[in-house]
Symmetry: C3
Subunit: 278 residues, 3 copies
Amino acid sequence: MVERRPFVSLATDFGAAYTAICAGVVYSIAPAANVLVLSDEITPYGVREGAMLLRQALPYLPVGVHVGIVDPGVGTPRLPVAIETGRGDVLVGPDNGLLVPAAAKLGGAVRTHALENPAYRLPEVSTSFHGRDVFSPAAAHIASGVAVADLGAPVDPQPLDVPPPSVSGGELTAPVLYTDRFGSLVLGAERTDLAAAFGELAPGAPLEVTWSGAASGTLRVTFEETFGGVAPGTPLLWIDSSGWLGLAVNQGSARETFGLADVRSLTLRTAAGRVAGD
Amino acid sequence: MVERRPFVSLATDFGAAYTAICAGVVYSIAPAANVLVLSDEITPYGVREGAMLLRQALPYLPVGVHVGIVDPGVGTPRLPVAIETGRGDVLVGPDNGLLVPAAAKLGGAVRTHALENPAYRLPEVSTSFHGRDVFSPAAAHIASGVAVADLGAPVDPQPLDVPPPSVSGGELTAPVLYTDRFGSLVLGAERTDLAAAFGELAPGAPLEVTWSGAASGTLRVTFEETFGGVAPGTPLLWIDSSGWLGLAVNQGSARETFGLADVRSLTLRTAAGRVAGD
Amino acid sequence: MVERRPFVSLATDFGAAYTAICAGVVYSIAPAANVLVLSDEITPYGVREGAMLLRQALPYLPVGVHVGIVDPGVGTPRLPVAIETGRGDVLVGPDNGLLVPAAAKLGGAVRTHALENPAYRLPEVSTSFHGRDVFSPAAAHIASGVAVADLGAPVDPQPLDVPPPSVSGGELTAPVLYTDRFGSLVLGAERTDLAAAFGELAPGAPLEVTWSGAASGTLRVTFEETFGGVAPGTPLLWIDSSGWLGLAVNQGSARETFGLADVRSLTLRTAAGRVAGD
């Protein structure tokens, strides 16, 4: 017999302790729940990074209630919402675009309601910790069977603000979505964007990467199907496991090696000749 | 039917792996337990920070067995103890004051016993990892139904050593309890202490903050009810979700912005005139 | 009645989010499982550190399926494997020696099979995230009752490459296995190696520690049974809770205090006279 436990996940920029307090609130209201901390280490205020994480991760999690909280607007009038998806999940978090790309991956948003009903909040709501007082109680009550429509009025969710990649004159310019913990830059462009700019690239195809801003630079790299395609310490472009184009250094940090901490977009073009070290 | 699982939480300064080993010991002894890691990233040896975390978090967790371990005295003769609370929890950890403020929040300490009974320790007790060998087995046995009084002799728990805030001559001086992961300083003073020094403060009221020591400085800030009351990058004083006064920077780090890493107390006084940028 | 949940642990160098995705895959396939993240913060590519963690931790976890992933070779032809142990556990991970010392601690490897059967992988296998697509599904299916022999062909696991300690002329030279989060260096030598070089050491016995390489240095320390044997800020040699010799600083960091970040081995010899500060 397979035990049925309502599944709840939490993804926040709160760190371990405050995220665990949210888990404690869920367990207090829904003792049978199975709570998974998806992340407690999203970069503080990194709405775009959080949105990409939820979009990437949730399809691999069981159908359930998924709380996402990256909320620079806590204490201001932005709405807390719950989005029911085509797959049957309910996504709970602030209405700042964080949940929207994930909802699209999970069969689309079927309905979205504001979290207004005081019956599904903690008795006392603080001004700064809505994760504990608003989002987690709502998630626990939904996991216990409360219908999304009972939480509050229907609303239209705000979209996530991400610039699209641009292709022109044999160049691809893509926004940096976030930097992962290995120091690899994940770009808002997919294999189809790469093909639109350069056609199908064979492993080892050389490309030139440039960036500008506070610091500017140029780098010659190869496109690879796997990290193992280049020697340790060597940079590469590759498609990550969620389909994004990325700039990495095999067994190293692209951000540290090339000083890319504050770079907001990269431009790729075909490199004539050979890459350094060939 | 709601499943009944004994609830166990763990809060340590051990990092992920050693804390998970403690969870593994609990599961080995009490397989039905529901173990939540409340924190594995308390600042090493930060007894005061750990005590404030437990005091803040435990009221939001289910009634259960809560292990707290920040233990600079491991390997010396300080006692391991279990404190039963009025709410029905049992707090397990070293007798160095870590558990005492949380016990007070949970209905007070009903009884405290030393962890002496070898039946409730691992067969072999190391000199340096009592979390694994002493505290976690005790917690698991209590979660499985062992009475606190069966663990060892009754003892009087040691109080936590925290300096109180002081108010005099229109000034409030408060100890820095800890710095949170956003770089906000959490002070050992509450709204009532603020009112004792300055009367009721309206949002936007200007205050001057000074500190001294290895580095010294002065800062003009406003008291706010929410982070959203000031622009990103701007400092503020506010009351955090557990009732402490704090110094923060909206969407930034007060510690980094003002060089406050080693500051042990802050003094606040009324600021004449307007804050910079008004 | 004790609830029976198949136990699965995860130890990776992926960080919180990618490790939680692996947990989500396990829960999706094996909803009754009890998943414990043993670590998500192994030093990236630290195969030796991960191997020592598994060897130290797994004996304290319930019998179950234990996934270990530190995999510099992802995307290259190294095999994914499952090792069944004498205790009844199954260890799942790359065939690079990571799992072998732990298997030896758990009653030895009874059988090892490659993870080849596509029925026990996700339908689509990426080139860079075998944790999600290969290792976690295999672990979940094993936790659900699939036999290790059904996963693929039997193989001989690769051993872990660790240099042994050497004793000669009253000196003990030992490799640095890893540095823990407190900055203590954990050495590949045990109490018996120490005794082979110096006989039985009483607490307080003085030793000289030397290292060379990019930086070189000499340090006089005492051997102690507990951290409490020396004052805060003072270095010591001790046997850690898993039996390894270590160099630490009481309430401090040996790595930072003595600049040992890149040191790969330490040599110990008997110190004449007294240590500094006696």
